[in-house]
Each structure stands twice: as C-alpha cells, then as structure tokens.
C-alpha cells in the first residue's frame, strides 16, 4: 500500500518541494491548547485543505501560518525559512478571510490596489495589475463600487482578487465559501479549482465541508481536537481512513464494534458483540498494525450488498429489517434495523427492487471493502 505522507523530504533536510512546513506546532490560549503538536508539509503548487469540525484548531493553524497568532511551541517554515519571528506584514502569504474583511471605506479597485500601493509600485503598474486581477475574478464592471454595494459572492471575488494581486507564495483561504448559498458555493468551487490550475500557486484552504475538501484538494489534513488525524489525498482519506474519527467525519459510514480474535499480516478475524464473525483486511497506517483489542469495522453504505439469504460461508454479514427508505436523487439509501439493535445504512444499487417494509434482509460485504480501526472513542 502507498505511503500516505512523504516524510522523507524534511527528514533528509531537503525541503525544496515544500512551501510550508509545520513542525510540532502548539498553540495555547488561556491554558487551553487549540493546536497540539501539528506537523504539516504542504507541497509547492498543491491545493491543500485543512478539514475538521468547528473547534478542531484548523482556523488557528491557518492563522499561525499567516502570522496573526504566534505558536506557543514548534516551528513554521515557509520555503525552508522559519517564520516564527516574521510579522504577518512581512510574510509572503495572503489570506482570503471568511468574512472577506474588505475595507468598506475603499472602492473595489482601491481594495485590490491596497497591497500594491504599500509596495510603492508605480501608478501605471498598479492600474494594470488591478485590472488584470479584476478580469481574473470577472469583476471588471464593479471596479468603482464600494463593498457595501456588492453581493456576498461578489465580495468574495474581490477578497480573492485583493489577495491574488500580491502574487503570494501561498494563498490562504479561511472557509472562503462558508457564507455563500449552496448554488453559488458550487460555482465558486469550480472557479477556485480553475484559478488554482491557471495560477499554479499553493493554496491552503480551511473548511469544515468534507465534500468541498474532497472535490477541490490535492491533499487533505483532517484535524480533530487540535491534532492532525490523517493527511493524504482525497481517495486515501475516503477509502483508507486511519482512525474512527476520520471514517465517520468523511462521508457516511457504518461502524460495527468488535474484538480481534485472530491477526495475520494480511487478514484480521473479528467477532462482534453479537457473536458474528468478520474477516477484514488490515489498513497500513504507517503505525504498528492492529493485532488485538477492541476495534470498529467501518463499511461505507455503497460497499454493502443486500440479499434475502445469509451468505454460505456465514462471514461478513449482519441481518435486520428494512426500516426506512431515503430518496437522495442520484441514489436511494435504506436503513436496516439490525438484530443487534443498531441501524445500518445501505446504498441500494441501481435496479434493485425495493422490498416491502419489514422484509428480513442480509447485508453482506467483501473483506476488502471494510476496514478495522482502533476503537478509541
């Protein structure tokens, strides 16, 4: 299985490939640790997302990179240079703020020119670059407006242009689409992706929206309670979560608690509380492999098959009654009331004939479609 994080660069001292490195970064506010030993390596030119629930420390992490907060411990490097003693106004990063933070006393073009004027750039150069930035975000016609005269989506574009026009080494985005409605958010996601591809800049985005992170990012760091739980590509995060938290936070999943009965490098034997037997292929998390103790088996709804008879080998299945059908447009999910008392969500395959309510059903999956994760919470 592929190694998820290439630690090798920084360990050999060769950090040419990284724009940002966080090394064992801690941030304590009034005795409470918001960030607890975060290590991040963000590659040059990638779209990197920091994903997590509110209060997980993701925004604090971004603010540490921008320089608005100072780390309590640890080091932050930008292209190999320690940034800890560098004030925000000397860091080669620019931020798109969640609230946009546009200067309401300045027009759109004055907002965008703000950073260039501070650099003492010539009037003509400023004008050209502002025009170019306006074109990039399709806001040419609104140059003379004040921010208060713009819609949320337009303000968002201005905030983006104001940051991009300074040609930062890294663009930081703090929940950039959080304040937009669903349709606008989808459109802006596409535009962000396009901008990233066209500009080739390193983007670091903070979001709580797992769908947004999965669809936009090259790599994602999932944060929980001040720590990075897992870092990897969207498919690694989704298909091979390393922890129960990641499995539950990213996408929908079903969790079955059990205990390891037998361990083999390529196969785990697990017995559920109900006494059912499961075969699961172990995940290579880079840590010590699971060999014993309490675990949860994670199975995604789309990986489960429904049948009317138990499987012949008597392995990897649960039984229950059809409880609810959830029509989701592209597919139908059904809820099974299991004999163990829990519920299981199964995505019905196309063309599956919907059985009447209270039908006894068997939910079956292949060992390679499930994961065994330490039951830590």
């Amino acid at each position: 299985m592929a190694q998820t994080v290439p630690h090798n660069y920084s360990e050999t001292g060769l950090n040419l490939g990284f724009d940002i490195e966080l090394r064992k970064v801690f941030k304590v506010f009034n005795g409470e640790a918001a960030v607890r030993g975060v290590d991040l390596n963000i590659r040059r030119g990638e779209f990197f997302s920091i994903l997590g629930p509110s209060g997980c420390g993701k925004t604090t992490t971004l603010r540490l990179i921008a320089g608005f907060e100072l780390p309590t411990a640890g080091d932050i490097l930008l292209r190999g240079q320690s940034m800890v003693d560098v004030p925000p106004y000397r860091r080669p990063v620019n931020t798109v703020f969640q609230s946009y933070a546009l200067f309401n006393h300045l027009t759109v073009e004055e907002n965008i020119a703000f950073g260039l004027r501070l650099k003492k750039m010539g009037r003509g150069d400023i004008q050209n670059q502002v025009r170019e930035a306006l074109r990039l975000v399709k806001m040419e016609e609104w140059a003379k407006r004040l921010p208060a005269q713009l819609s949320g989506g337009q303000q968002q574009r201005v905030a983006l242009a104001r940051a991009l026009v300074n040609r930062p080494t890294v663009l930081l985005l703090d929940e950039p689409l959080g304040a937009l409605d669903l349709k606008l958010r989808k459109a802006m996601q596409m535009e962000l992706k396009t901008l990233h591809r066209e500009l080739g800049l390193t983007f670091v985005m903070v979001t709580h929206d797992q769908e947004e992170a999965l669809s936009l990012s090259d790599r994602i760091a999932v944060m929980n309670r001040g720590r990075v739980e897992q870092m990897g590509s969207p498919s690694q995060i989704y298909d091979r979560p390393h922890t129960r938290f990641v499995a539950e936070f990213i996408g929908d999943t079903n969790l079955i608690t059990g205990k390891i009965e037998g361990a083999h490098p390529t196969m785990l034997w697990i017995t559920s509380a109900e006494g059912r037997q499961f075969k699961v292929i172990p995940v290579d998390t880079g840590n010590k492999p699971l060999t014993s103790g309490a675990v949860v088996i994670s199975v995604r709804p789309e990986k489960i098959h429904l049948q009317y008879e138990p499987p012949a080998d008597g392995l990897n299945y649960v039984e229950g009654y059809l409880k609810n059908l959830l029509y989701l447009g592209t597919h139908v999910n059904c809820q099974l009331q299991l004999t163990s008392g829990e519920t299981l969500v199964v995505q019905l395959p196309h063309g599956f004939e919907i059985p009447p309510p209270d039908t006894r059903l068997y939910a079956v999956w292949r060992p390679e479609d499930s994961l065994a994760l330490p039951n830590d919470s």
């Binding site: 925000p88 703020f97 609230s99 933070a101």
Partner: protein, 296 residues
C-alpha cells in the same frame, strides 16, 4: 376568513394614527423647544437689527448696523481669539483624547472598559464652575502648580489670567466628550480589517493611517465638531481663567447683554452670527462627513 377591515371597525384609522403618533410623542419636548429655544432665537434675531437697543426700549427693526459693527477690528480680534481657542482646544483634545480612546476601545481588556470609561468621564458630572475654580487654585501664582515647581527648584509659571489657562480649562472640560465619542467609534472598529491590512503588507503604522483612521473618521469628525462648538460658546473658562486679555465672543455677548454698558442689538447680532457658524459647520458635517459612515 374575516377580512381585517370588517373586524377592526372601531379601531382608530391608520391614517389618523400616522398623524397622531408623532404629535403625541413629540409634543412635550416640542413645547419645551419652541418656548425656550425657537422663540428666544427669533427674538434675538429680531433684536439684532436694532442698533444700540437698551433694556426697556421699544423694538424698532432698523437695518444691518449691528452686523457691520462686527467687522470693526476690535470685534474681529475677539472673534478671531474665540476661533483660536476653539481650534486649539479641539486640537489638544484630539491629541490627548485619541490615544486614550484608542487604548480604551481597542487595547484595554473588555471587562475593564466600562469602569475605565467611567473614570475618564467622571469630570463631566461636576459643575463646570467648580472645575474652573479648581484650575484657579492650581494655576494661580501661589497655587498648587507653582508650589510643586518651586519644590523642585524650577521657576514659577504665570499662567492664570492668560491664554494658556483658558486652553487648559477648556481642554479639561471638553476632553471627556472627545474620549466618549471616539471610544464609541473605536470600539466598533472591525479588528479583522486590521488583520487584513497586515496580511496585505501594512506595518502597524500604515495600518493605523490607511485603515484605522479612515474607519473612525466619522467619529473623529463628530467628536471634533462637538468640542469645537462647545469651546466656541464656552463662557465660564475664558471668564474665570482668562482675565481681561482673553475676551472672547461669548464673553463679549454676555457683556453686551448684562455688562456695564449694555447693547442688546450688538449682542444679538453676534449671537446670530455664532448660531449661523455653528449651524453651518453641523450642516457641513452631515452633508460630507457621513458619506461612508455606517452609523453614528
């Protein structure tokens, strides 16, 4: 469903409510204003056209003579001195008040803000007369200030009955207004804008000039104007601290009405001129000062 019309038959008609509501609510204050502000102002306006009127004379409006007398050198000097005091007081209040208000509104811990503000505004609760007398006892030749200076071997200062004493007294009296209004403006300052400025490469000093000051400009204008107007009309401080050399417009008006040689016409003309000046500056503030302000 019964229509609202048929149900509310004995309800006061909406159009009547629309007329009655402001009348009822504004009546008491309106009477007060008309009797004690509008009518006296009109009387003064009328008197200003009567040259050399004394108490008991008949009112016969007779031309612009009083206004022309304003342009006599001695009167112009007095008006100029008033403006100088008012501008000086405004500048001193700004210089002293802005750092205080900034510290109170932006830096001081939130839970201490109200208490600290109270401490700065406390002087407002004492009589202005009392405050001036306090300054007399501090500034007079044998006062607190000179005792202190003498005790450290410095020469004594003769400030009382001079212009510096007037400026000190007026600045002291009006500083709380400056701090109060600026604080209200600075307290609302969006800190995220300061971060955005830093993010775009602005040093703290640049952030202050290009973001903080424009953001609180409406508050700056309002507080400066309030101090300016109050200083222009201040009578107590120039009278008690200024001595004969600090004749101001307000003192001159007082003298024209209640002094040894009353001249109500001239006093009224000067009052009218002061009222017009103040009204004009407020009008200018409303017209131009508020353009980009959100609320104040």
């Amino acid at each position: 469903m019964p229509s609202a019309k048929s149900k509310d038959k004995d309800r006061t008609p909406a159009w009547l409510v629309r007329w009655l509501e402001p009348l009822v609510l504004l009546f008491p204050a309106g009477v007060w204003l008309v009797l004690l502000l509008v009518l006296p102002t009109l009387i003064i306006f009328e008197l200003s056209f009567v040259p050399g009127i004394r108490p008991g004379d008949l009112v016969i409006p007779s031309g612009l003579g009083n206004y022309l007398r304003i342009f006599e050198p001695l009167t112009l000097l007095v008006i100029g001195r008033s403006l100088l005091f008012a501008i000086g007081t405004t500048v001193f209040c700004l210089l002293l008040g802005f750092p205080v208000a900034y510290w109170l509104g932006v830096i001081a811990p939130k839970r201490w803000q109200n208490l600290l503000l109270l401490a700065f505004v406390l002087p407002l609760w004492t009589s202005s007369l009392l405050r001036s007398y306090a300054w007399i006892s501090i500034l007079r030749p044998t006062g607190v200030l000179n005792s202190l200076l003498a005790s450290v071997g410095l020469p004594s200062l003769d400030l009382l009955n001079q212009m510096p004493a007037v400026l000190i007294g007026m600045t002291y009296s009006l500083l709380p207004y400056m701090v109060l209004i600026l604080y209200a403006s600075l307290e609302k300052l969006d800190r995220r804008l300061l971060e955005a400025a830093a993010d775009l490469g602005a040093t703290p000093a640049q952030t202050f000039w290009w973001v903080t000051v424009p953001q609180v400009l409406p508050g700056l204008a309002a507080s400066s104007l309030l101090v300016f107007i109050n200083a222009l009309g201040d009578f107590v401080n120039p009278e008690l601290l200024g001595g004969p050399s600090s004749m101001t417009a307000a003192r001159l008006i007082y003298n024209k009405f209640l002094g040894a040689t009353p001249d109500w016409g001239m006093g009224s003309a000067m009052s009218t001129m002061l009222i017009v000046m103040v009204t004009l500056s407020i009008a200018l503030l409303i017209k131009y000062g508020d353009r980009r302000a959100t609320d104040l």
